[in-house]
Symmetry: C2
Subunit: 152 residues, 2 copies
């Protein structure tokens, strides 16, 4: 993000899509930096979180829960299997599937990333009070829910 001193065009400053993108870019930079320091990236966190909350699952299920394309799940799991954060085992009941399991190391890794994310969150939302944060969360939830429902 290169903002410097110059003011942005007015039409951009008031466009919600621009603001959301700007906020997302800030957020993304903070998260990516924090995760990179821990040797991870966004996809890893999402997959680990889905694994801890729902237990072992197939790659396709993981992708659906973490909102990641099947093909990208493969790559992320390869990376995480190298660090022994997850285990891939064939599903005896359905030989198309792999069952992915979180290892203890993976759980520790996830909790580390949880801490990173909490710190980033605080930094990102620094200018907002607690009620304002809640309001923002609520508005954004309405938007994402609306668009998630309206998509196959």
């Amino acid at each position: 993000m290169i903002t410097d001193d110059a003011r942005q065009p007015e039409r951009l400053r008031h466009a919600a899509s621009w603001l959301i993108n700007q906020a997302s870019a800030h957020s993304h930079r903070l998260v990516a930096d924090g995760f990179a320091a821990a040797g991870a990236r966004g996809y890893h966190y999402r997959l680990l979180a889905a694994l801890e909350e729902y237990g072992p699952a197939s790659q396709a299920d993981l992708g659906r829960r973490a909102a990641i394309d099947r093909s990208d799940v493969v790559a992320a799991l390869n990376e995480m299997a190298e660090g022994e954060f997850v285990e891939r085992a064939p599903d005896p009941a359905d030989r198309r599937r792999n069952i992915i399991t979180l290892t203890p190391a993976g759980r520790r890794h996830l909790h580390e990333l949880d801490r990173v994310l909490a710190g980033v969150q605080d930094e990102l939302l620094a200018p907002l009070s607690a009620p304002e944060r809640a309001r923002l969360t609520e508005l954004l939830t309405r938007i994402t829910d609306h668009h998630a429902r309206s998509r196959p």
Copy 2:
């Protein structure tokens, strides 16, 4: 975005950074599709908007106003110069610089993109009332301003 029926992990559903990213992804998809149909992409719109609001400028200035890296400004201007939306002329007063000017075709193109963006905006914010949209804009503005100021 692959959301389908599956619920996302709770820690994601309540994290502001996740929500912002989700909203940004929706917004980005809508905007990119709309712009692509008009033969443009985000960088083009930002540069055209900066040009119309502030008049002819050097590429470096454009980059600062549109928050785009200098090197990416080059590529985007190349693409737009092909469509004759902008003109590159050397600055006689400073021979390092190019002066970029919006052509009439560029202005028409910009206004077309304005209409596209307005439509997308409406779709994106569909679930929110007018006061809610204003509130969201205000909160996001506070966040982006905060982080823009805190960066060199």
